[in-house]
């Protein structure tokens, strides 16, 4: 257990170090793509805290993201904020998203599986419609952000580091929750919610808490996105692709695992960013995304990391067995009598069921 933890922790630290060094390349294009990669890492990890741990697939995450976008946008507009001051509103975007998550969760979490998915999609469209139709959201014109005249070479750096902090924070939060009592209850709900309830887990409270927690980082990132784009528009703040992409990233990397969403986001978002710049017809990127989704569901239903990890484990077990078998062969006579004893005690019915003998 210990080496695995060290290995995992070490690779995470290395990953963060590499990520933190990216702006040093002084290439605004790379940093810009990097901001989006980190936004998706943070969002996917946050999404996973609820959906991955509990198995409740939410396609309404954009509600939280968009709430963050509009919270920051409205605060910026009404308080006439500019420059660095806008960054101070991000936590409020997160908070607003978390507050929205309470009624959203109380309603949506009454149902399960497919019905839950449909309800979350419905919520998403309701929020998008509200953004379009309310007067105070600016309707289709949206809300314009402040214009800053920062050095174009380092323009994206503050966004980049904010997104990095949120991504790392979400990952640490997810990791801390995983092994805690709360995390264990979430994973128990994923396996058998009714049984968990029968063992005293207050399922509604636990699910809702996770739902609210997962909304917070997405709200922060929504605020960041507003300032980055300089505009809050209904179709980008409440974007169905945000929902689908988060789900796809988690499924690609490993649904319900800790590192899966990080891996999936790191793999997928650079491609999406690249496609946006390079492919003239934007729909090509979307078609590829859809095809990828199908391919993942068909060939890697549990995601890359669990599948590859299992292959690796079975390969290693086979290797260990083969090398052990080579050594054990000459030692057979010596090993025979303890083995026979073990069989005898087993048959005496000490109560220990022989592992492999039953089915």
């Amino acid at each position: 257990m210990k080496p695995a933890v060290l290995w995992r922790g070490g690779s995470l630290v290395a990953l963060v170090a590499v990520a933190a060094a990216v702006p040093l390349l002084n290439n605004p294009l790379v940093t810009n793509v990097g901001v989006f990669v980190l936004m998706y890492v943070g969002s996917a990890v946050a999404w996973n805290i609820f959906s991955g741990f509990t198995g409740y697939i939410s396609l309404g995450a954009a509600v939280f993201f968009g709430t963050g976008v509009y919270t920051t946008a409205l605060l910026t507009e009404h308080l006439k904020l500019n420059g660095g001051a806008v960054f101070a509103t991000y936590p409020l975007g997160g908070l607003a998203a978390a507050v929205i998550a309470v009624p959203f969760g109380l309603i949506a979490l009454r149902v399960r599986r497919h019905t839950f998915v449909v309800v979350t999609i419905a919520f998403f469209f309701i929020f998008q419609l509200m953004a379009y139709d309310f007067s105070w959201t600016g309707g289709t014109l949206g809300i314009l952000g402040p214009i800053v005249n920062w050095d174009p070479n380092t323009f994206y750096n503050p966004f980049y580091y904010t997104a990095l902090i949120v991504a790392v924070g979400s990952a640490v939060l997810a990791w801390a929750i995983w092994g805690s009592r709360f995390g264990l209850q979430l994973r128990a709900i994923r396996d058998d919610e009714d049984r968990a309830r029968g063992l005293g887990v207050k399922t509604m409270r636990v699910k809702l808490t996770a739902f609210v927690i997962s909304a917070f980082p997405m709200g922060i990132l929504g605020g960041l996105y507003f300032f980055l784009q300089g505009q809050a528009l209904p179709e980008y703040a409440f974007n169905p692709f945000y929902d689908l992409t988060l789900a796809l990233m988690s499924f690609l990397g490993g649904f319900g695992t800790l590192s899966g969403p990080i891996f999936g986001a790191l793999l997928l978002e650079p491609y999406l960013g690249y496609a946006q710049y390079q492919v003239t017809n934007a729909y090509v990127a979307e078609v590829v995304l859809g095809a990828l989704f199908l391919a993942v569901i068909i060939f890697l239903p549990r995601g890359i990391l669990p599948t590859v990890g299992e292959k690796f484990t079975s390969w290693r077990v086979a290797w260990v067995r083969r090398s052990a078998g080579a050594q054990a062969a000459p030692a057979e006579p010596a090993g025979a009598s303890p083995a026979a004893d073990a069989v005898k005690t087993g048959a005496a019915g000490s109560g220990a069921p022989g592992g492999g003998s039953q089915r």
């Binding site: 209850q185 049984r195 029968g198 063992l199 887990v201 069921p353 039953q358």
Partner: protein
């Protein structure tokens, strides 16, 4: 002897089917009670009504003379009624130890097993005392060496033992077992019945639904026969064995032949 668990006139219908019909039953503290009856006679439905996995149409359930009718499953469990399921229900992607901790942690009365209560929400689930207690119980049921394995890798019989183990960690006053011997090999059946007897000696009350007559008659102090959602007779095993109404319930009387088939 005081009555620990009592149902009074409990009725439950699913559509047009009367699963339980005015079902009155008592389980005495410290006893092992059996509940038998043909398929569809309402045994599992009665368990569900007691443990909150469904709402009764009418009637009441009492634990220690306190009404617990239609309590939610988490409350029923917290009050000291543990149960297992006919088709085992373990958390398949959690390890055996994690399964134990889920059950251990959720009970306020004894859940922490002496572990220091912590205000830190991110503290690792299951303190050393809880884990030691879980290990003891897994040794007791004989699956200790599987503690680190995912529950989905367990055989059917081992899952039954795991289910029993994680119900035990919450130290319930009474455990309802739904077909503990169903689909389990004979050696393991012996183990299960030994463990039940031992736990009973330590003070745990049992209510057992089971089709294996040898198992029920060998273990139970008192057996109730359920037929069409209604208890037709209650008594010690040797009385039940020779009661004509029991045979009627299982084989059907001449005029009820059509229903029974």
């Amino acid at each position: 002897m005081t009555v620990l668990l009592r149902t009074e006139g409990v009725s439950k219908a699913f559509g047009g089917v009367q699963a339980l019909d005015d079902c009155t039953l008592q389980v005495e503290e410290g006893s092992i009670a059996g509940l038998i009856g043909p398929n569809g006679s309402g045994k599992t439905t009665l368990f569900n009504m007691i443990t909150g996995y469904g709402r009764v149409d009418s009637g009441d359930v009492f634990l220690n003379d306190a009404k617990i009718t239609n309590f939610t499953p988490d409350r029923v469990f917290a009050l000291g009624i543990g149960r297992t399921f006919q088709l085992t229900r373990v958390f398949s992607r959690l390890t055996v130890m994690e399964n134990m901790i889920v059950a251990a942690h959720t009970k306020d009365r004894s859940g922490h097993h002496g572990d220091k209560r912590t205000r830190n929400p991110f503290a690792r689930a299951g303190g050393p005392v809880t884990r030691r207690r879980a290990m003891e119980l897994l040794e007791f049921t004989g699956i200790a060496k599987l503690a680190g394995d995912r529950a989905e890798t367990l055989s059917y019989g081992q899952r039954k033992l795991l289910e029993l183990s994680y119900v035990l960690i919450a130290e319930p006053e009474i455990i309802l077992l739904d077909e503990p011997a169903g689909g389990v090999n004979p050696t393991l059946i012996g183990t299960i019945s030994d463990r039940i007897r031992e736990l009973n000696r330590q003070g745990t009350t049992f209510l057992i639904v089971e089709h294996n007559m040898e198992f029920v008659m060998g273990l139970c102090d008192q057996v109730t026969v359920l037929d069409n959602g209604n208890p037709v007779v209650t008594g010690p095993p040797d009385v039940i064995r020779n009661d004509r109404r029991v045979l009627d319930a299982y084989l059907g009387t001449a005029e009820e032949d059509d229903d029974a088939a």
